[in-house]
């Protein structure tokens, strides 16, 4: 990062430190680290498929509060335990609905959390790259949710982010999820926004204690000019599980990174995802699953589709440490491309130091099956419907992990709608 850019962000850091006293040390250190790492360029291997030049060239100003009450997007989860709404990076109490969740779990906005107990700031992930460090330096709000041991929250909790009228402005969000022993939680994390050129930079960190289960569904539907960078850091304890489904549809460029550490025997994770890239869009997913101990398991299923001049990328790194025997790790990536200008990249990376492990990975990139389309149309099915059926079938494997029917239906509807929008262009190709 250029020094003059650092100076400009420094003003933002001081402003936030003034807002949340006691955070200045954390923030300034993070900003210094960000400058040392420098914003990634395509020459950095994990960033080879994403060009974040906009971040290197533009100083994004702090997001300003919305002038009016924003419209809420359609409902995805019919019955939520609670819905937390963040507008332009700020918790909005009026639009949120705490439900009965406060009776079962501890919930508070990050700002309150930091100000009332600054020692807890030490538990926050600081980051080992410029974008995460910038999040630590500039985080303004987020949700801190702790589910006590043994408590199972049945209905999903939703965190909805809405960004409006924030051209060249950044929202740096930090969410912290803690599950006590044997606890369980389903979280739906959603992002929507208008057509202003804003930047969402979000970090979610989770600690899943022994025997706990965390299901995490991310639905990214940012506005068409937005930049979306997000990371999750998850620590999974003995016999605990982290099950994630990541849907990327919006933004001009999205980069999602999942870092999952399987810390103790019996820890498991499933990370699935679907990305749909329209013309000019780029979706990049980077996962790193670290098997630190024996008998830990991971599985990943990613399905992506790219329209003309759209781009989807998947890099999946699996590390199996030296003593981590009896580990199972599977990874499957399949991409559909609609024409020669569409792009799909796949890069599995296996770093296996143990000798008794079962690891598999596969990656395929192809077009929609013409024979299957003809077979379906030869039974009277319209070509657009035929393609939709094939795409639904193609993405179904990546949605298996979504345990709530209403959420799954909503995700499938989005995939169908996306295909319906492509119907006219695909028809003229034939």
């Amino acid at each position: 990062m250029q020094p003059d850019m650092l100076e400009k962000y420094e003003d933002q850091v001081w402003a936030l430190a003034g807002l949340m006293s006691g955070t200045e040390g954390l923030r300034m250190h993070a900003l210094k680290a960000a400058a040392e790492f420098g914003l990634p360029t395509k020459s950095a291997e994990p960033w080879r498929y994403s060009n974040v030049r906009a971040l290197r060239e533009t100083v994004f100003t702090p997001a300003v509060a919305a002038k009016s009450k924003p419209a809420l997007p359609g409902v995805v989860v019919a019955e939520a335990s609670a819905r937390f709404v963040f507008v332009n990076g700020r918790f909005n109490e009026d639009l949120s609905d705490m439900g009965d969740l406060w009776q079962a779990a501890q919930v508070r906005p990050l700002a309150n959390h930091l100000m009332s107990n600054i020692a807890r700031a030490d538990e926050l992930v600081r980051g080992k790259d410029a974008i995460t460090c910038l999040n630590t330096a500039l985080m303004r709000d987020g949700m801190v949710l702790s589910v006590p041991a043994g408590v199972e929250i049945d209905d999903p909790v939703e965190i909805l982010h809405i960004t409006t009228d924030n051209d060249k402005a950044g929202c740096h969000l930090r969410h912290v999820i803690e599950l006590g022993e044997g606890a369980s939680l389903t979280l739906l994390e959603r992002y929507v926004g208008d057509e202003s050129g804003y930047w969402t930079n979000s970090v979610l960190q989770a600690r899943i204690s022994e025997g706990a289960r965390f299901q995490h569904i991310r639905l990214q539907e940012e506005g068409g000019k937005a930049l979306h960078t997000a990371k999750t850091f998850v620590n999974v304890d003995a016999n605990a599980s982290y099950r994630a489904t990541n849907i990327n549809i919006g933004a001009s460029l999205s980069r999602f990174e999942a870092n999952v550490r399987l810390l103790v025997d019996g820890a498991s994770t499933v990370i699935d995802g679907v990305a749909l890239a329209a013309t000019g869009q780029s979706h990049d997913t980077y996962t790193h699953i670290d098997h630190l101990m024996p008998s830990t398991t991971s599985a990943q299923i990613f399905r992506t589709i790219a329209d003309s001049r759209g781009k989807t990328s998947f890099q999946g790194k699996i590390s199996v440490e030296k003593d981590a025997q009896k580990v199972t790790a599977d990874q499957s990536f399949k991409a559909l491309v609609f024409d020669k200008t569409a792009e799909a990249n796949a890069k599995p990376e296996l770093e296996i130091l143990a000798d008794d492990v079962k690891c598999s990975h596969g990656a395929t990139i192809g077009a929609l099956d013409d024979q299957a389309i003809f077979y379906l149309t030869s039974r009277g099915i319209e070509p657009a419907t035929a393609r939709r059926m094939l795409v639904e079938a193609f993405t179904a494997d990546a949605l298996v992990g979504v345990a709530f029917d209403d959420i799954k239906t909503a995700l499938m509807e989005r995939i169908s709608d996306w295909m319906a929008e492509r119907a006219s262009t695909l028809d003229t190709q034939e």
Partner: protein
Amino acid sequence: MLNIKNLHVQVDGTEIIKGLDLAVNAGEVHAIMGLNGAGKSTLANTIAGRADYEITSGSIQFKGKDLTAFEPHERVGEGIFLGFQYPVEIPGVSNLNFMRTALNSVRKYNGLDAMSAAEFMKLVRAKASELKMDPEMLKRFVNVGFSGGEKKRNEMVQMALLDPKLAVLDETDSGLDIDALKTVAEGINTQRRSDTAVLLITHYQRLLSYVQPDVVHVMIGGKIVKSGGKDLALELEEKGYAAVV
């Protein structure tokens, strides 16, 4: 019902059908016989409207309309059904969803309301049972893991559901054991009515023992070179193509 005149068809720039004439009336079953490469499957695919089958001259009229003006899915709505020589496997799409979407698409094309799930289940179970198809196969993915015979049976169930005016069956009898062959023949015979027609494309006389054709055509080199009654098929089987034409 079907009236083909002086049809020429190219695939990838090579002419496969070279001046074919064929007239099929309602209530008739026609068999087209011929060796590999005669252009039989090309004819079937051309009638169904498959892309890459380019009509360079000639005409295909169906019920008095220019068939080539219709997209493949619209031809089904008009009453044409193509039975595939090699039915396609479609992982992830259930047979039931496939058949219901197909039936309702054809109903929509003809201005009818969609059939409810319950009504459809009743209908498809009845058709599967008539054609001796295990109802469990309806729940499986389309043709995935089906044996050759099961795939063809599945084609017959689809035909029975869509109830076409003209069924074009491309080597539906190939690769079948005798039980499956009889079932397929029953499917065809059930479809045989005064208001429907069937075009059977086949290598062998075998199926014609169970489905009696009204007319048998011999196709060689992209043309129909000889037509006759059902005895022509027996003659072909006995003496070979060279002797007959």
